[in-house]
């Protein structure tokens, strides 16, 4: 442990060898490594400061995390009433008449389901292609950088890009089209599609990791039984990677739940879920989620219902913590283990 602390110590530690004019003999690398754990020579002032800093940082993070949860719980429990979960929001200047956040809650769940329903099959397919085929290798590298770019793009950029795409007239089926033929571009489907891009890199990452841990001889055992690559993937590899896929999907759900930019830009401004008429009207309609509800009702937003914002934020936090808990549960079981 002491070696980790030394590398974390701020600033270089002056020692023999760091100064060309230093007359002291330069120690061999092995000697200086040994000095790091030695109790006699180690622990200069820099080391001590570094060690204290590491402790302080670690403990402060715990304090920050605990205060987020405790503060939100205190506010949340203070303002949260069960009927908020079952009543729709209403526009009113009087906070007591603004209703609950049933629609945003359902909106969060709906958007998460849509996003993950797009992301999981696509992500698994990409991960399988990358690990099991991945040729020509130039194309594989291109796909990998594509995934990295999507992962690194800020969600507000994805949102504005999505608006651009889904307002094209041929994308009209995914959202509401006005009388003149202008495509609104905002709906659960279009927001869900962009949300899928947020979850996609996580699904790809953990699926690839799971596939990479399956030893080669397991694949070969399937080939040796006369199976081709396709059925080996379907019958052996994907079932083996199941918990990895589930982990990626759950992490992706957490990200989707918490994203605000895409909701604000691509899900419309209505607080209430507003389905379109016709086939799949709900998906083509607009609505809100817990994040946009908190944003709009917070003291910073227009609607002035901060109590409700705190209550909704608490519910959102609980959902995300629950998802994280599920991730660690999945990680603990169901993983096939070969020697």
């Amino acid at each position: 442990m002491s070696i980790d602390v030394r590398t974390a110590a701020p600033g270089p530690r002056p020692g023999p060898g760091s100064d060309p004019t230093d007359p002291r003999p330069k120690p061999k690398p092995s000697m200086s490594a040994a000095a790091g754990i030695s109790h006699e020579t180690g622990w200069s002032v820099g080391d001590r400061v570094g060690l204290v800093a590491a402790w302080v940082c670690g403990i402060s993070l715990c304090v920050v995390a605990a205060s987020i949860v405790l503060f939100m719980a205190w506010k949340g429990i203070q303002f949260l009433h069960l009927d908020m979960l079952t009543t729709s929001p209403e526009a009113s200047l009087d906070q007591s008449k603004t209703g609950g956040f049933l629609d945003p809650l359902v909106g969060t769940l709906l958007l998460t389901v849509i996003g993950i329903a797009f992301a999981v099959p696509t992500g698994v397919a990409i991960a399988v292609w990358l690990t099991e085929y991945g040729r020509p290798s130039g194309l594989a590298r291109l796909v990998e950088s594509g995934v990295e770019i999507v992962a690194g793009t800020p969600s507000i950029v994805l949102a504005i890009f999505g608006l651009l795409v889904f307002q094209q007239s041929f994308m009209g089926i995914f959202s509401f089209t006005a009388e003149g033929g202008a495509v609104f571009g905002r709906s659960f489907l279009t927001a869900g599609a962009m949300m899928a891009l947020i979850a996609l890199p996580l699904v790809i990452g953990s699926t690839r990791e799971a596939l990479n841990t399956i030893p080669r001889h397991v694949r070969e055992a399937s080939y040796a039984l006369g199976k081709d690559k396709a059925s080996t993937i379907r019958r052996v590899l994907l079932p083996s990677a199941r918990s990895g896929i589930a982990t990626g999907a759950t992490l992706g759900m957490g990200r989707i739940c918490g994203d605000t930019a895409i909701v604000v830009i691509l899900l419309g401004a209505s607080m209430q879920t507003t389905p379109e008429s016709g086939f799949l009207g709900l998906f083509r309609g607009t609505g809100s989620t817990l994040t946009s509800y908190v944003y709009n009702n917070s003291p910073a937003g227009e609607g002035n219902a901060p109590d409700k914002a705190y209550a909704a934020a608490f519910v959102l936090l609980m959902i995300v913590i629950l998802l994280n808990f599920v991730v660690s549960l999945i990680g603990k079981r169901n993983k096939p283990q070969w020697n």
Partner: protein, 314 residues
């Protein structure tokens, strides 16, 4: 190099949905003793009496018949020749042990017999491999591999139930799955022949990866047997197992040899001496010497064999 597995499998008609019947080996019928106009390679049984042929587990005579052979087989990984001009037969009714120091090409030779070596893009093969008088290249690779089964160094059951592992090779692609009722007798039979039935009969639906290492390896044997192979290739199948599991597997191998031709790669000379009828010694890709186990171990003809075998037997 395009792998054959990548190609879509056409023509899996209704016949393909029916699991293959296990070939019942009736000893008097398996070996027509061929005399006279037979033009193939010399019949190993020619001129011998049945009791002179390899002995089964209970000491009863077992007929020996050629199943596979290689002719001047060479395999190179890029420029490196791993197997050099090897000519060898694989016979049913006996256990053939491939011995030799590590890196001498035993695994490569073994993997060429079911064309698994084709999965390595750099591998190039010359020479012929013949299964039942037909070049292995003429077989559809999936069909070849269900006739030439393989067991690996590490036990590798699939992450599914014991039953599904054994039934894995029997289930066909496509929508029609053979019903459990049809599969069950085959699965039970394969588990019995692999010597695992008594231990798992009450929990066929349990996950296979929960079994012990030795049980897993016997499950892998059962999984191979379920598709009724004619040849079973074993690549150091006991190297990851404890002595008790090893001896159980050795017994199973000896039991099986009357029905399936067995080729086993082993590092363990004692193991080869215990179970092999015929032994082939390889060194740096060359097939140095092959012959009856007693001869190779007792009176090796080649000096290199003597050096290697002598080390193991004092």
């Amino acid at each position: 190099m395009e792998l054959k597995e990548d190609q879509p499998q056409n023509g899996s008609g209704p016949a393909a949905d029916v699991p293959p019947l296990r070939r019942i080996v009736v000893e008097s019928e398996t070996v027509p003793i061929r005399v006279g106009d037979y033009a193939g390679p010399p019949d190993p049984n020619y001129g011998r009496e049945p009791w002179q042929v390899g002995a089964g587990s209970e000491g009863e005579p077992v007929w020996v018949e050629e199943r596979m052979r290689t002719e001047d087989l060479s395999i190179a990984y890029g420029d490196k020749r791993a197997v050099k001009d090897v000519t060898i037969e694989v016979n049913s009714g006996e256990v053939l042990a491939l011995i030799g120091p590590s890196g001498c090409g035993k695994t490569t030779l073994l993997r060429s017999l079911n064309r698994l070596v084709e999965l390595t893009p750099a591998a190039k093969r010359t020479g012929r491999i013949i299964l039942d008088d037909q070049s292995v290249d003429d077989f559809d690779v999936t069909q070849l591999r269900s006739r030439v089964g393989m067991l690996f160094q590490q036990p590798n059951p699939f992450p599914m139930s014991i039953f599904d592992n054994v039934a894995y090779g029997l289930r066909e692609r496509g929508s029609k799955k053979p019903r459990k009722k049809i599969l069950e007798p085959i699965v039970v039979d394969a588990l019995e022949r692999a010597g695992l039935w008594d231990e798992v009969s009450s929990n066929l639906s349990h996950p296979a990866l929960a079994l012990s290492g030795g049980q897993q390896q016997r499950l892998c044997i059962a999984r191979s047997l379920a598709v009724s192979p004619e040849v079973l290739l074993l690549d150091e199948p006991c190297s990851a197992l404890d002595p008790i599991s090893t001896s159980i597997i050795e017994d199973t191998i000896v039991e099986l040899k009357s029905e399936v031709a067995i080729v086993i790669v082993t590092h363990n000379l004692q193991q080869a001496a215990r179970i092999a009828d015929r032994v082939a010694f390889m060194y740096l890709g060359d097939m140095v010497e092959q012959g009856a186990a007693g001869q190779v171990f007792g009176a090796p003809r080649e000096e290199r064999t003597q050096d290697y075998v002598g080390g193991g037997f004092g």
